[in-house]
Symmetry: D2
Subunit: 277 residues, 4 copies
């Protein structure tokens, strides 16, 4: 059996030694290990994968007891226990299709108990992949969030993927799922504020466009960045072509971010992520 341990705490002497000692007590053999101390915040983060014949419960008891003095955020998870994602969508299908495609291929180690939407447009896409689809086209925002929260509870959802979900979530909802909501957003060098960003980008003749996957905080497009990628463009691409290229980058970047999250590779330190890729 393989377990994935993550740990985050104030940096202090002896942490790694204590972790590895505790894993030895679990009869564990470390197969992967990454750690990093952030020089700015002096926060220490660590991700360790180890094999053991002990149960997850036993290991958790040993680790929690031996590491208690470090006052750390500790997680332990069986490597084959997949995280459960709730995917929220509106009308655009490119991100949803990419997630379902990679999920079908077995390259995205998550479970998707349901797709939910404030529109009915993507029902056929979800159901074509045999994923449950719930829509709430006629509800107000707060009623929508009640349904979403109920689904999170019912399906024991670990994280929410905003796969081009065009509703702004309430501050309360964001806080209740803090660090567990992933959004995808177009990005440009330089950035463009306001409406029709691809038209603005075109008007300045940008040569590179991109996309950013990030955690959602109150401010929809300003949370900690998880993953980014770009593509070169040129003058022959009108605003519509830029939008199409943007779609292509968005779906790849979102899928990559989901994969990192699914494998416990992302740590949040203040407004930054530390990623063991």
């Amino acid at each position: 059996m393989e377990l994935i341990l993550t740990l985050q705490c104030k940096d202090q002497p002896g942490i790694v030694n204590a972790v590895t000692s505790a894993i030895l007590k679990c009869n564990g053999n470390i197969t992967e290990n990454q750690q990093f101390t952030d020089p700015q915040s002096q926060i220490f983060v660590m991700r360790t994968r180890f094999e053991t014949d002990e149960t997850e419960t036993t290991c958790h008891q040993i680790l929690a007891r031996d590491l208690t003095r470090f006052d750390s955020a500790l997680t332990l998870r069986g490597a084959d226990r997949k995280k459960k994602a709730l995917v929220l969508v509106t009308k655009e299908d490119h991100c949803l299709r990419e997630l379902l495609y990679l999920h079908d291929l077995g390259e995205l180690p998550i479970e998707i108990p349901a797709v939910m939407s404030n529109h009915d447009d993507l029902r056929a896409v979800a159901e074509g992949h045999e994923i449950r689809f719930d829509s709430f086209p006629d509800l107000g925002k707060s009623e929508q969030e009640i349904l979403i929260s109920a689904a999170i509870e019912k399906y024991e959802i670990d994280f929410v993927i905003l796969a081009r979900y065009m509703q702004i979530l309430s501050q309360e909802f964001c806080e209740s799922m803090a660090g567990n909501i992933i959004n995808i957003h177009h990005s440009f060098l330089p950035g463009f504020k306001g409406a029709k960003p691809y038209h603005q980008a075109h008007a300045r003749g940008v040569k590179i466009i991109g996309a950013t996957a990030h955690f959602v905080t109150g401010d929809l497009d300003e949370g900690p960045i998880i993953e980014q990628d770009v593509a070169p463009v040129n003058h022959s691409k009108g605003p519509d072509a830029l939008v199409a290229i943007g779609r292509d980058i968005e779906r790849r970047v979102l899928a990559k971010a989901v994969q990192l999250f699914a494998e416990d590779r992302i740590f949040l330190v203040g407004n930054r992520t530390i990623i063991f890729s």
Copy 2:
């Protein structure tokens, strides 16, 4: 002898035919040709390289006469007549070194009659490459521009390269050299306004940083974009490391933009560039 023709005008039927007919009258053989009609502005641009035994003067007369009805901006230049660049620098040397290095290698088809600076720090770099270096550390901004303008006249400068020149040029100066001043600037996804951008980028944990070469308009960092490039970064890079990576991108992007300009490959249409790379 090879000539490079550029032409820009309102799109209208018969332009290409008129140009190619005129080149035939010059006994010219087209070796390279690119043209583009911008769908937004209906501006037509064209770059044609052709061989001929006629003189540049003869060809210019034929072309100007035959194309007069299109009310076009027309340029004609011997392919081996290098454009003359005035390079302005302050204290950072990475862009200047890159330009001089590529110039020495013969990969940057420009002449550099002089490097000018508001500081004396980079004298050795320029003179080590046997390029004249003039500094004006003690002068006020308007006096500096008088010297720069005098040098532009004296050396018959075609364009100005701001190779990390940390002075803001006056509106008047920018307008007098409109479309002929190239600047280099760091860029991020998303953009960051204000001081210490690399620190801001670090604080959000950006995963990609970049640089933008652009023409200078009144607003120093907002002119039409010529060239952009990016590099991936991660959490292990502190602000200083980001600055170092940024320097590396800046020098490559600036050199590329200068090369495009030197070869008459850039057309300005409104606030956008059309680039035949």
Copy 3:
């Protein structure tokens, strides 16, 4: 109505002038034009898109007549008349899924009358997208090619896409469709010959893997290159992970090559392609 003209011939004076004169006679207005003379072979290629109120037949007559003296390969096609592709697959689905996904999105301007396969595995994928699927699992190679050739005739196929088709086509078949069969193949720096290339690449610790889309000649993996792309990898990726990353590159590169072909942007000059992207 918009027409796309392509032309390829020995370089000689007056071609562009003759083309643009002929387009004027068609009352055509050029909206896009690219041309290139290959210095090695002295072959001239040109792609021109123009609007006209004349019929395609009328335009073709005018162009064919006026350009006959250049002894050129000339094509003319309505921009909205989609090319018809026959997709051949075996068992791997990643390339087929990508093509069908982009086709559904409207981003791949082709028609796909049928998918054919030497296995039955991908029937559900094709039919799920409402594309006809014909398989021939029990036939010998020459009988397979008879069926494929019959389908090419029946559906008026313009080109064949080998979307991970693991059969070697006969020399005769390749020649009968020369320049109209596109294949996708993994690629490495440096290249690796023989079986299990991803394992070989892993054994040398390669840091970049890629894929190449190319035209098929007799030699399956050696035809003229259309499109290539790469992705960075590192030591943490075992052979299986390399294979997964390779799949991701392959599907993107193949889709890009198909798009270039669908838009008449590829010219074959000897064993090289000239691509107006």
Copy 4:
């Protein structure tokens, strides 16, 4: 004081625990740590940077004693003690210039006691950067290697950089410096054997060219890969342009590989590298 520890051995339980325990005995505080177990070879590698008030000698004694049972290859080095590189060149200057440029900037943490060459061409480049230049244009290969070996001893050289050194080193020399000679080589997808590779690449119309930095084994271009990068090209680039682009990639890739080596980030496992970047 900061120390960098590297360790490589057969994977076995308790290594990390033993290392971190020993570092605690050194009153060390770990600031950076990376480790990896290669699943194929079951080789464990680790790089740890730690602060301590103890001397390097004391720390080395503690670590060597406590880790002796793991039969590991152990190195310990003060983080500010720069490795000494001997740079070998022939006539091409692009790689040498890049190394000296980054060295001047302080971005390449190495010392360069000397540049040596079988030609005299690059004397001015080296001496312009105040680096000693020794040439041996008239000597046979074995006499050259005697001089090189003498310089390695005299200057206490840690590693050799072949910055476009066009001589094949003897098997004996390569073995005497095994794992400590870095070479740079052009690379293509697919690979091309034999003379004039850029011409071959051009003849197949490759769309991406690259470079590979690798350790030198007996076979000059086949050692373990350290770093690779690529650049897109198109049909408009003739063989000479490809060579120029290749030069640009080569200098960046070589500099990156040297930097990784200088910071003890490269581990050799069989014919592969594990790199903690």
